[in-house]
Symmetry: C2
Subunit: 288 residues, 2 copies
DNA sequence: CGTGGAACGAAAGTTGGTCTTACATGTCGC
DNA sequence: GCGACATGTAAGACCAACTTTCGTTCCACG
């Protein structure tokens, strides 16, 4: 109820502490980035408030009185603890990993391969990419950011900031060999996880009959694209993910319409952001 | 060289500490005698400076994050030490005795007998009267004040404040019986310490021949006056000291001229003053 | 001895951090 | 649904803290 009730001004205490440490008003001023006059005023005020002489001014030099000596000791310990606490916090925050959650395949197929480029610029910053269920409370779960593929019509939550990275069409692709086989898309095998309702919904939008589709479940997004390249079946992906494969002729696009366009975006919880988080988010923009 | 170099604003840390203790911005504001808005702003600023979320705002309540918890712990210890140090100092100062030095007889013969009156008003304040050599550095020796008899022409030192109490003539006195003996002052025995150059100088001012004086050395001022009363010899004193004796007829004044007039004064070191010192100095004015 | 450098002292002026004010929003208990 | 009580935000006010300026003292050095 009253810890602060009758405590002298903290800045005055700080000025005295600096004076005690340096043994000089001028030097204390330098430590605190203020003028000597500011320090003398503060110490004077402190002495007045406590009704005790804390320093003895002997000409050009300043020495602590016995009372000042005792107070200085207590302040040194106290402020030292405060300083240590803040320093420890800063230290811990600086070396904490950047935790990124993602609900799409973009991380594994696009971000991860480029991570070395980030580490080259920011050595020492640990980044943890972790796949997570779609809807997640970033702050609550301790994540620093999310990379999400937003379909049109998304709305920003009040406690989240969304920074769009790029827009990319969802395309259906398959190996050139499979395309050359003459099979219609409806008759091709499709590399799609059984549990992936989102991707199934995408394909349904093209008019294909999902129920009649022959599906191949690879278990992992990264393997899926690999499977497509090897001709095991057709699949969907965003253009940006398979751009290289398309250009290199490892994959070709199937002429399906009705596939959506998604916006890749980084989602950051509102509030203070660590430099490492800021850096990673900024770097993400550069690679898209 | 750099303890304070990169420390957040102390008032922000204080605001956060209060918030952590009370678990509420509003309550913290009450503790610090500020509005809740001031606290929220301070905590927000602190979070921004440290780039760390310290509290989680969940509707109407506020809970600390893990980082906040750790910082709060450190701050609690740190500020606690500061607070304890200040409190200890205040405590020690409050119960420290008031040390008064005096170079004259006034203390023993006038102040001491009236001390009970001071203690009646200010119980618990210890007062130490101590006789000391004439010139003394109050601050250096740890005295709170001096009671001195100043001869005219005194000048105030730069680091001392002089508060005149009263002016009093120096008078030569003796017992009525001695006065009735018919002896001239020059032929009377004089109760004067051999080492007391000041008093000897006083008498020399009256034209008496000190060298031819028959002197009685009692060793203590208090005994000297007593010796005069008992007729052992004549002596000098200020009027205020022997007023009662003169009125009661225990002493009579010798018709000597050329004796000085002194100003009793309390001398206080400049700078902060404890309440007890202030009180004693104020009380001194009331008894003169 | 005087001259320059470096420290403290005092007073007046200025500024920016801190606080208040005012209003909006959100949550809980009834 | 309403009142009580919490937090959020913005804009302006205020005052403590700081700078500036000038003076003084002390010491080192040629």
């Amino acid at each position: 109820m009253s810890r602060w009730r009758d405590l002298p001004s903290l800045s005055a205490l700080r000025a005295f502490d600096a004076t005690a440490q340096s043994g000089s008003f001028a030097e204390a001023g330098r430590m605190l980035n203020v003028t000597h006059a500011a320090v003398t005023q503060a110490v004077r005020g402190l002495e007045a408030e406590l009704s005790v002489a804390l320093v003895r001014r002997a000409g050009r030099t300043v020495v602590l009185t016995e009372a000042g000596e005792r107070l200085a000791k207590a302040l040194d310990a106290g402020f030292g603890a405060v300083e240590a606490g803040v320093a420890a916090l800063r230290e811990a925050e600086a070396r904490r990993v950047v935790r990124v959650t993602t609900t799409t395949y973009i991380a594994e197929t696009y971000v991860m391969p480029r991570l070395p480029g980030f580490w080259a610029k920011h050595p020492g910053v640990e980044v943890a990419l972790s796949p997570s269920p779609e809807k997640i409370d970033l702050g609550r779960e301790g994540f620093d950011m999310a990379i999400r593929a937003l379909t049109d019509g998304w709305v920003e939550m009040p406690d989240e900031e969304i920074r769009p990275l790029c827009r990319s069409r969802v395309v259906a692709v398959c190996a050139p060999s499979l395309a050359a086989s003459g099979l219609a898309p409806q008759d091709m095998p499709w590399v799609i996880g059984n549990a992936n309702h989102w991707e199934l919904a995408e394909i349904a939008g093209t008019g294909l009959d999902i129920a009649r589709l022959k599906r191949v479940d690879m278990g992992s997004p990264h393997l899926e694209l690999q499977a497509c390249r090897q001709g095991l079946g057709a699949g969907t992906a965003t253009e940006i993910i398979c751009r290289d494969d398309l250009e290199a002729g490892r994959l070709v696009e199937l002429p399906l319409t009705g596939l959506p366009v998604v916006t890749y975006a980084v989602v950051l919880p509102r509030g203070p952001r660590r430099p490492a988080v800021q850096a990673f988010a900024a770097w993400l923009r550069t690679i898209f």
